[in-house]
Symmetry: D2
Amino acid sequence: MKKISVGIVGGTGYTGVELLRLLANHPQAEVRMITSRSEEGVAVADMYPNLRGIYDLRFSVPDSAQLKTCDVVFFATPHGVAMSMAKELSEAGVKVIDLAADFRIEDLAVWQKWYGMAHTEADLFKDVAYGLPEYYRESIKQAKIIANPGCYPTSIFLGILPLLKAGWIKPDNIIADGKSGVSGAGRGAKVDMLGAEMSESFKAYGIAGHRHHPEIQEKLSHLSGQEIGLTFVPHLVPMVRGMESTIYATLSEDKTQAQLQALFESAYQNEPFVDVMPAGSLPETRMVKGSNMCRLAIYRPANSSQVVITSVIDNLVKGASGQAIQNMNILFDFPETLGLNQVALLP
Amino acid sequence: MKKISVGIVGGTGYTGVELLRLLANHPQAEVRMITSRSEEGVAVADMYPNLRGIYDLRFSVPDSAQLKTCDVVFFATPHGVAMSMAKELSEAGVKVIDLAADFRIEDLAVWQKWYGMAHTEADLFKDVAYGLPEYYRESIKQAKIIANPGCYPTSIFLGILPLLKAGWIKPDNIIADGKSGVSGAGRGAKVDMLGAEMSESFKAYGIAGHRHHPEIQEKLSHLSGQEIGLTFVPHLVPMVRGMESTIYATLSEDKTQAQLQALFESAYQNEPFVDVMPAGSLPETRMVKGSNMCRLAIYRPANSSQVVITSVIDNLVKGASGQAIQNMNILFDFPETLGLNQVALLP
Amino acid sequence: MKKISVGIVGGTGYTGVELLRLLANHPQAEVRMITSRSEEGVAVADMYPNLRGIYDLRFSVPDSAQLKTCDVVFFATPHGVAMSMAKELSEAGVKVIDLAADFRIEDLAVWQKWYGMAHTEADLFKDVAYGLPEYYRESIKQAKIIANPGCYPTSIFLGILPLLKAGWIKPDNIIADGKSGVSGAGRGAKVDMLGAEMSESFKAYGIAGHRHHPEIQEKLSHLSGQEIGLTFVPHLVPMVRGMESTIYATLSEDKTQAQLQALFESAYQNEPFVDVMPAGSLPETRMVKGSNMCRLAIYRPANSSQVVITSVIDNLVKGASGQAIQNMNILFDFPETLGLNQVALLP
Amino acid sequence: MKKISVGIVGGTGYTGVELLRLLANHPQAEVRMITSRSEEGVAVADMYPNLRGIYDLRFSVPDSAQLKTCDVVFFATPHGVAMSMAKELSEAGVKVIDLAADFRIEDLAVWQKWYGMAHTEADLFKDVAYGLPEYYRESIKQAKIIANPGCYPTSIFLGILPLLKAGWIKPDNIIADGKSGVSGAGRGAKVDMLGAEMSESFKAYGIAGHRHHPEIQEKLSHLSGQEIGLTFVPHLVPMVRGMESTIYATLSEDKTQAQLQALFESAYQNEPFVDVMPAGSLPETRMVKGSNMCRLAIYRPANSSQVVITSVIDNLVKGASGQAIQNMNILFDFPETLGLNQVALLP
């Protein structure tokens, strides 16, 4: 069977190299082009030596005519770039998977406030699916454009939605305390992301407001059919990869620990990339490092009315590039796990 | 002026070596003996080479007669040891500062449940003060025995008590999401604390229950005069030192961000070791590494009714040995900051 | 084609879990049993949660009869175990691949001195090959027992042998300055390997003598046909995986940087797992993390007579389990790279 | 006694904040001004929150008239700045301590080659001392300008000079394998120093040539009175602070391990900041973290003719700001250890 042809726009960042790593062993996809204005002509393997001997691609200037020859184009770009090319590619029959935020939020007034630019492609949303397969699989199958979810949102959705959809918790006071490794901040040179600055230190950031907040809130409301009150505080962990979210909610009806466990196991029993760990487990980010898995555990401490979920993903895989490939597999009717069987690197 | 004479019981762990580091430059205290059954005869500087040239003490077997010649004895021991010696030392006029948990919880039924042993010294509690100077300074001055607070409790108390004492938050649903560096787990050889296990990973632990939970709950209730509902989830951060707590509470009356800031600044204006950072600040654990400071910031995100406090300490200093010395200073009527002017090591 | 049947003896350590990770995606091998006396009955995925959903094996007590049903048995055991079972398995036609040191050194007097036990199986050496495919491939093909090389030796051999075999350097004064991540110390609970001890620190160790020294010396002498003078100092790096060796040698004849580069490129042009990087490159351990590659660069600084090679591997892959599978592939006449196409995890 | 008045030019980098940390507790020195063009008006404590409550200085634009009111001015600037102001300050009687390289190398042709600029102040060298107190104490006392040594040179000098001065080693083939934490690369925003890039990885760099090579070579030659052949390869360690050098040399005469130990102990018996550890010790960088100590050990492995020294310092203290203050103490006839009694932070 002929492989599908893949293009990557803006592949110099961490989600770009992670797409390349994961696609290198995908049996049905072949990366044909990868673009970067600033690195034109540079061999991909020179920028990312882990790819030496695996790819002999060079970065090229993004060119619509060229990209239209692909079956699917991933955008691993700053916000706003996918928006500018999605229509043309989509009309040409090319599937678009945006790892940035251009199509994540349907309320464009909210989007414009948080992303600081005008959204020019409101009419495209009819062809967009939010790329969280566990909750939007059917719409992904029909979509032309995939809004690949943010990393924090992914880890939080998978942790809280079974409860919210079951109606077992109060929707007005959900707290999500998120923690991310530094690769989440990207490959740009910033003083506060220097190794000498972030190592051996821990901090909250974005307390006053973070772009993932409205994304989470909109989708939770949409999927549960009610207004959601959410407090979200992200934190920076001195490690490269990995994301953990500890989610707190108040039970609206009395449910035992066993009932909670059963609810989650039932919700995800057919999901290849969500692992509800046995009661009492303590998920660690290293249990998913380099893999597309989300592992989670649910607790009701001290029989109080509070329920606590801890959910771990690799921010660059299930939180970005792996989930994007999962979406590609759905779009092209491949087995959803194709090429995504990487075992987490432990230790 | 003659220096006071200091004994340390059980000084082979991290709080022991930290006491030695901090006391090395204390102008009014001199460490005269340090005990360890297992390391008898070993030079302190052989176990802790950072102390080479600074101390020529050797570990000795704990001996009551010897310890009674001290003015103050610190217990940096497993739980239960201080309890067994406190009466005899205290009656001999020796001040006792326990860095373990023997005198932290007055409700002995609770204590016995969490610490798995009988508490034999209920009658000593009349001479005990809980060693959190910012809230128990007067009772510390009168005490013979100091229960030095746990690290998580310290970081959480300093963050939530101004609000709780002011009556601005609902007391029944406080959430404390704590994060600690691995030195908090001590110097015992445990597989899950190996560098190859904990590095580059993040996890929650003790979700079902942690010994610091009843300690926090009791003191919060005591200090605020009401029952407290607390959910506490600790996490392990891949770093050596440092502790951050993100605390969530619901406002019971409408207060602006500015009013919240003013409340905290007022509460701690005379406290040498609590730094209320300017509005919008993001405390990092490295801002207090090696120092006795607690730095904190308070937020009311998105004008919701949730208030968020982030509080950072060095778990081995303000969270243990530094606070113990602060208590010693109070007991002996020294300036409270004496010997505790270490500037945090940054970077 | 029927898959070969694989047994792993002693799979609770890091080389054991790494064998499982790598073999999970090997198309021609299936792990049928994994043994551990201490963990009998425990599910592999309970000990190593990265394997949840991938293996449903449980640890069993090692049993010769069972192991004889395998086509190949890996020993990921303490030194001395493989020696005790190799004869029986080998006579039963089972290929043995020992990741420990039992068959690495032919001079048994030397072996006994360094490993502190008697070597009882001298007669087996006729069937043993030293499992460094780049230099012993032909003998591996014929062997019944593979002595999988140590991690330091692997990184050093690949770096120095082209020069030594070409006769371009003085053999009497080679210096190898090796650096290893902490996973090299294994999964045993040791105080000095705690995260709170090894993080944010760097040290030399084993300066007075290290077990890999005689192994390196014997094989270098054997392969180059002359006595070798080697100084080897290992160091511990505060990271989990990765090994770098900086090797210093004195040129015995004048060779340009270009000639040196050409020598190495020629030596390894057909080797799938040795990457001679372009002149001026600086190999980093993360360029091989999780992969079976060795990447190296060669320098002649300041036109002195000193040549410097820097060579990086993942100590658990090319330095242990990956190389073991590479040897398995050779033994069973599979393509040498089968199942070993993992791309290094970067960042 | 009146405190001396201290100015710091260019205090925004890591050596600047480290000077501030160390001087905060110096009983005879007071920092009166700190300059930075880019950060004019910014409070020092806003840039370095570890200094909150300790300094209320603000960065000012460097101004000669102001700086001349100081007793001593430290230059924590890029190379070339101290050169431009040293004459004027020095003539005004202000002592100059340059933490950059402007006066480290007397052979100005060499300097110009490595630092890429013309050296305009050759005539000042008559007033310059190289600020390595252990070997240049007398000339420091007489000097007006101190060239504070590089970090690698400091760690290597202290390790090799006893042997070189005793004439016990061959001078033509010294190998120094250096390793540094990332704070050595400074606070500039560079992609390869991002936490996501340098964490969990190890590499050699500067193999083809490093600026510290000519500095080491010149001073070794000067102090030993002979030409020195040196190979120097620096490496980057994934930690913030700390530097280790492993130095290899060939004995020119037969000396026992005990003789080597005695030589070093004798050489440094009166040195407050050099600790010759007992035979068999393994110095770790954490044994000196935050302190001005150098700790070292000497080995003669396997009775070969190779001698191995391992030497550890904190690159920001004895390798930069601490040594600068040590030099200040000598210049002003203070006790050499004044204000430098910080105990290393361990763990």
